[in-house]
């Protein structure tokens, strides 16, 4: 249902009437969802950009840009020429200013249009913005890519750019009933993105469907391979153990329903023990985020410490106090986790890990953005992950499942994600 709604966002603003349709969607939904940062003169700017784009396309009809006219939301930690960057913080924008992010440059060169900047939690950590869940307005859209997920979920735009350091794409995707894709670590350059933890920050995107995720990947990822040949149905492995036990009761019920649907559609699902030391992985990841964040922020924090939200300040204090030996061990642990997960894939003969994309449905209230723990190990291991909508529960709340491929197999993951998404909708 939400996918149908989202699909109604116009996907090429150079088509007649598309810009007016986009504006109507904003008029209908944005004041309730608050996914975007306010922008004065948004429609005049877009009209001029659309007309310039249409003229350029008409003068070179043979070289159609791959994302011609696609309106995008861009998380406000990405620098975009013509927009201030605040990263959801109260720091002066000039402190965060700089050259446009490489990702946005690639998108604009491919013909995409920036519909606006989307709300992020402060510095993509946990202090939330005003955005509401488009499916259940009293609940969080998740974070930190809150506005990007909500914008797609509300059908304001068909796609939006986000980032994931713990679970900031896959979790909000599940909460808002959309597709979220986090590529392999460093598959997309982070230049021009205000970092939270450079070791763990991944550029990714939220889209109305898998096909659009694939089109963005071909533009954004370094060295995208296309086409790829994959077996029709991947073997799926469910990582049994303390990790899976972190999902809520409701989350596990929805996950069981999703597994049943996948099996009914002919996919083989194998229970595979994994991450017996999940508590330690979780601790190491959070230590690394804190230590990195302190390195990134210490100069800004010295000047503007009083402007930081309590949660971010707590993170930076933990990072300042971090033991360098423990941090070095945490860093080394990332490679070990990836190698272990991939060795178990080989041993069990599985192609993709299958797990819940969030602990459960979106939590009530807007004061917190939910727990990213289900996404954490995959971000830690730097492996590509896609979050797919898995329907609604008895309360009408959205759930998602998360599929994870081997490092660098982003192409195979998205090639399979289409049929998996279809099976989940049966």
């Amino acid at each position: 249902m939400s996918a149908l709604l989202a699909a109604s966002a116009p996907s090429d603003l150079t088509r007649p009437g598309a810009l007016e349709a986009l504006r109507r969607r904003f008029d209908d939904r944005e004041s309730e969802v608050l996914a975007f940062l306010p922008e004065e003169g948004r429609w005049e700017r877009l009209a001029a950009e659309v007309s310039a784009l249409a003229d350029a396309a008409a003068s070179r009809p043979s070289a159609r840009a791959p994302l011609l006219g696609l309106p995008l939301g861009i998380k406000d930690i990405f620098r975009v020429d013509g927009f201030p960057t605040s990263a959801g913080s109260s720091l002066p924008p000039e402190v965060l200013a700089g050259p446009q992010s490489v990702a946005v440059t690639r998108l604009r060169e491919a013909g995409a249009l920036v519909a606006g900047k989307t709300v992020t939690t402060e510095f993509a950590y946990f202090a939330p913005g005003p955005t509401r869940n488009p499916v259940a307005p009293g609940r969080t859209p998740g974070g930190s890519s809150s506005g990007s997920a909500a914008a797609v979920g509300a059908g304001l735009v068909p796609a939006a750019i986000g980032s994931q350091t713990i679970g900031s794409i896959c979790r909000p995707a599940a909460f808002c009933g959309v597709v979220g894709f986090k590529p392999t670590y460093e598959r997309v350059p982070r230049d021009g993105v205000i970092p939270l933890s450079p070791s763990l920050d991944h550029v990714g995107w939220l889209t109305a469907d898998v096909d659009l995720a694939l089109r963005l990947a071909a533009v954004l990822c370094d060295g995208w391979r296309s086409p790829v040949a994959v077996p029709a149905r991947p073997v799926l492995g469910v990582p049994e153990g303390p990790y899976l036990e972190r999902a809520s009761e409701g989350g596990l019920v929805a996950f069981a329903v999703a597994c049943t649907r996948l099996k009914a559609a002919g996919f083989e699902v194998r229970s595979t023990p994994a991450m017996e030391d999940f508590a330690a992985i979780d601790t190491r990841h959070r230590l690394l985020v804190a230590a990195d964040a302190w390195q990134v922020h210490r100069e800004w924090f010295a000047r503007f410490g009083d402007r930081y939200h309590t949660e971010t300040r707590g993170l930076l204090e933990r990072g300042r106090a971090a033991d360098p030996v423990a941090v070095a061990k945490a860093r080394a642990g990332r490679g070990e986790l990836r190698d272990d997960l991939e060795a178990r894939m080989d041993a069990a003969g599985i192609d993709l890990w299958l797990s819940p994309a969030a602990q459960g449905p979106p939590p009530q209230g807007l004061g917190a953005t939910g727990d990213p723990v289900m996404n954490l190990p995959w971000t830690h291991a730097g492996m590509p992950a896609v979050s797919l909508p898995a329907g609604r529960d008895a309360d009408g709340l959205p759930h998602g499942v998360q599929l994870v491929a081997r490092t660098g197999c982003d192409e195979e993951l998205l090639a399979w994600a289409g049929s998996l998404a279809e099976a989940l909708h049966q």
Binding site: E186, P198, S199, D292, Q295, A332, R334, G335, A381, G382
Partner: protein
Amino acid sequence: MADPLTREPATTVTVTTRVNGAEQTHTVEARLLLSDFLRHELGLTGTHVGCEHGVCGACTVLLDGVPVRSCLLLAAQVEGHEVTTVEALAPGPENLHPLQQAFWDSHALQCGFCTPGILLTLVAFLKENPRPSEDEVRFALSGNLCRCTGYQHIVDAVLLAAQRAATQAGGEVAPR
């Protein structure tokens, strides 16, 4: 190639320093060498990089007036200090520093790669010791390698500069 998952991320620092009289504030990687900061960030390519481990002296610059190997210092270490490079010795080819003029007149350079480091080493030396003996000049030069000249003309140039300074109202060969 290093595993991207386990390598250290680049840490940046903001450095404010005075280089050749002008204040400079740059955000750079914490591991950036002073020599690379001068050459790549500031475009002051007169500072030459030879051995990159403190042996050849080609990268010598003045830090608060004292000769230092810029390849053995980090840019972050010159925060709040004053750096002088060869570019500051003379405003242009028509108006060389007295030591540069003496090098010119004595044919004290061939390929010129070592010259900036030698000039800065000896400018500081002559300030401390305006009337050196030949042995003292050779000792002062011992930390700078020159592979073309055999040093004789360099020694001659230093003695010439010292002599000219002495005849000009007892002045010294001071840095400008």
